[in-house]
């Protein structure tokens, strides 16, 4: 430890004392630097995780943002919103970083100018949408489930169609995105067998098969019998 002479000045520290002091100082500096870097990193992460950032480039502002403004996740009676990152960026840290690295690739494409007009955007929309469908399907629509907990669905309160489809669909192992495509944006071309081939999303992509448990098939057959009489 530091010693003091009669005049109150500190005596020069011996060698081991110096090493110890330097060590403590170094750890302290690393600690402070760590906080700054980490804080800065997270600040950037958070800044780029806000709606304003997402729509700061005109590709997003002119296309998907305008479409989303007409949907329930932008405006509804209770004013609770889902913003772009709520659906598109995982909440959990590891997943978030991976998604952010992928997103840098997308920003690169913006800088390279490969999607700089609405026409080019729409030409790419099928590919972009299919990527997003595949991602959500793989995660069992994790981002939807961050807000919507289907365990707490009140089937008495939901509409007839919702209650029926949720109970059969979710039991069959379907996930939100299997049925709720186009929930926030205009859909790309989808093949529906009407008119000429649109080169759009194939039926097996738009309504993917699920491995069904043995009990499921009885349900639709019953619906057929009753519905046939109503159709002319």
């Amino acid at each position: 430890m530091a010693k003091f002479n009669e005049d109150g000045f500190r005596e020069p520290a011996n060698f081991t004392d110096r090493i110890r002091l330097a060590g403590i100082g170094f750890i302290g500096m690393v600690f402070v630097a760590g906080i700054i870097v980490w804080g800065g990193f997270n600040t950037v992460l958070e800044l780029t995780n806000r709606e304003e950032f997402c729509i700061s480039c005109h590709e997003m502002n002119d296309n998907v943002f305008q479409e989303y403004r007409n949907t329930i996740h932008y405006s509804n009676r209770s004013g609770v919103r889902a913003t772009c990152p709520d659906c598109h960026v995982p909440k959990e840290w590891g997943h978030k970083i991976i998604r952010k690295i992928q997103a840098s690739n997308e920003v690169l494409h913006k800088v390279l100018g490969s999607i700089d007009t609405p026409e080019k955007f729409n030409a790419k929309r099928l590919k972009l949408a299919e990527n997003e469908w595949a991602r959500m399907r793989k995660t069992d629509s994790r981002e939807c489930r961050n807000c919507h907990h289907f365990e707490y669905f009140d089937y008495a309160e939901q509409g007839r169609r919702s209650a029926k489809m949720h109970q059969t669909g979710l039991n069959e192992g379907k996930t939100c995105i299997d049925c709720h495509k186009g929930i926030a944006h205009t859909l790309p071309e989808v093949e529906q067998g009407i008119g000429a081939d649109k080169h759009g999303a194939a039926p097996e992509v738009f309504h993917p098969e699920t491995k069904q448990p043995a009990t499921a098939p009885a349900e639709p057959a019953k619906a057929t019998a009753t519905q046939d009489t109503t159709a002319k």
Binding site: G159, R161, L187, V190, I194, K198, T224, D228, T230, A231
Partner: protein
Amino acid sequence: MKNPTRTSRSRTLAILLALGLGLTSLPPAALALDAPAPVKLQSLRGAEIQAMDPEGDGTRNDKDRPPIPRDFVQQPPLIPHSVKGYAITKNFNKCMDCHSWTRYKETGATKVSITHFKTRDGQELDSISPRRYFCSQCHIPQSDAKPLVNNTFRRAEGLSSK
């Protein structure tokens, strides 16, 4: 005719007189050859014709319910659920996502009528014809809005189930 010149003269006079009278008694607007007198359009809602439906007027889309019985022969069936947020675009027809023959079994929806497969020229297609693409031209959802005018309409006898 004894005196043709006199009769023709008096006839000319009469025509001129009639024309003169006609011209003075006509409203000046009619002189401008193109514009007919403006018709005053009025909506039953009492709002401007071009005005959008008032927001927050207290009406709500009806809740989902089973198919609604028809009221007259050849009536396009009513839509028994809300269609809020549903779009029919060049890319995608939301209605046909449930009501097409390939999808109705899975969704439990009423399948679209086979009459819709026929084109204007009577040709049968293997799915709905372009003239039937815009479902909401004929099929409409219901809300709890009050009727704008009272009426005594009654369901066609042959369609009543009781």
